[in-house]
Amino acid sequence: MNNPGSFLGGAQDRLLPASIPFRFFLAASGFHVLAWAALFLGADQLASYRGGPGLVLSAIHLATLGVFTMTAIGASYQLLPVVTRRPLARDWPTRLSFWLICPGIVALTWGMAQFNQTAMHVGTDLLTLGLLIFGVLTADNLRRTGGIPVVSAHGWLALISLTALVVLGALLVRDFDSGFLNDRTSFAILHMAVASFGFMGALAVGLSLVLIPMFVLSRSLPSLPGWAQAGLTALGLSLFSIAILLNLPSLKWFALGAGLGAAWCYLWQMRTALKTSMRKRLGVPFVLMRLSWGLLVAALILAGLTLAGAPIPNVGTLTGFILIAGWLLTFLTGVLYRIMPFLASMHAAGKSGLPPLLSDLTADGPLKLHAASHIAALAICSAGIVLEATLLLQIGIFTGFVGAVSFSVFAVNVALKLGKPNHIP
């Protein structure tokens, strides 16, 4: 009855070859393991980390560039053409961007760990070129879109933020040579805020407006809160940038207020989707996604405590940890749990025979081990940062490492089954 040959029918022009998104996802799962490994080696520096080269900076970028950016690019290449109903103009630039970004991340993070300036410059240049290709392809797709305007608006916000964070990142790397920045720490904080809330954040919350209702099977979300969310995010980032660049610290409070407002809009929409869900069992992915939403709010509250100078030991480091490992990493792995088997099922069906069942493509054991390890790692590391206890941090980071390895087992398993669809029972 099914017509496998035309399974993807007219959508084949919008669905990229599976190898493109999956190379980004598999690389992300590898960088995930490396991020925890680098952090383990630099565990004694984590609690008191205030910036500068070393293993902690390397671990941060293995997570932000290696896991978040690779996942975001893979998902954007795959999903934006389907959501916006406009195919990418060509396939080859997506492959080229991978072969620039992936070695770029390796060179940059190696250079950061070893304080090798040549490696950092090579990595920065490769990354800039690769991200430029991603930016041009995505901008071209968004420009021609006839899809969902509020999702496109988040895409534009992410691209503007990407441009800003690449410029800031390049300045910070050059500053290692000549020290021309007067207030390096403030620029580094702005770089992190634009990367986390602007680029990654806008993509995560923008694609959530379509992905979460699709995952839980609820009606499409009203667009007004989505526009408010985009507007408040843009306002918050603009105010924070002005506060840093013009040295107006009081503006940071208004930026934080806008950020909390954007988070409220986002969480209200996610709650609406969950309340009207047709799917009865949401499973492990939504344990992680719900946790990540709570940690988004926790990160913003911690940012406020940092601004207020609250007497919590290492509160700035804790804020960064909860932002990166808490909100973004937890959310992205939760999304990947759902999206990798889903994409594999769509692609495998185009090859031969019936599409594999989603349940056949998911490996429950590794996923549960990852989720448990990840949640435990967040709790133990947070305690370790506040207590400045290196042993506690090592235990927590090793737990996170075990979870990351387990996640990689899941990712490789999906990719192997995608390669051999007929072998699925």
Binding site: N2, G9, I148, M214, R219, T276, M278, F342, M346
Partner: protein, 86 residues
């Protein structure tokens, strides 16, 4: 979800239920089609009218044991006939 909340429109014809999701934003077409398929006693045929090829729907159909065939496939409209696998 009550029937009045289900996106799109539907009607009963001689060849079975028709569900029209044209003009809806994602994921409303998928939600509407699956809602009708999950109604007690529904085994098809159900004809789904969609204005894009529903690539995200197929894994969900297969997971629920529904077969599909293309009745129409153009640039602007796809019609799928859905039947519960026996």
């Amino acid at each position: 979800m009550n029937i009045v909340d289900v996106p799109g429109s539907h009607w009963q014809a001689a060849d079975g239920l028709h569900v029209d999701t044209r003009g809806l934003l994602p994921p409303d077409p998928m939600v509407a089609i699956l809602w009708h398929l999950e109604r007690p006693g529904q085994f098809g045929p159900v004809t789904a009218h969609i204005d894009r090829n529903p690539v995200h729907l197929f894994p969900e159909l297969h997971e629920r044991g529904w077969n599909y065939e293309y009745a129409l496939e153009t640039e602007t409209e796809v019609q799928l006939v859905l039947r519960k696998a026996t």
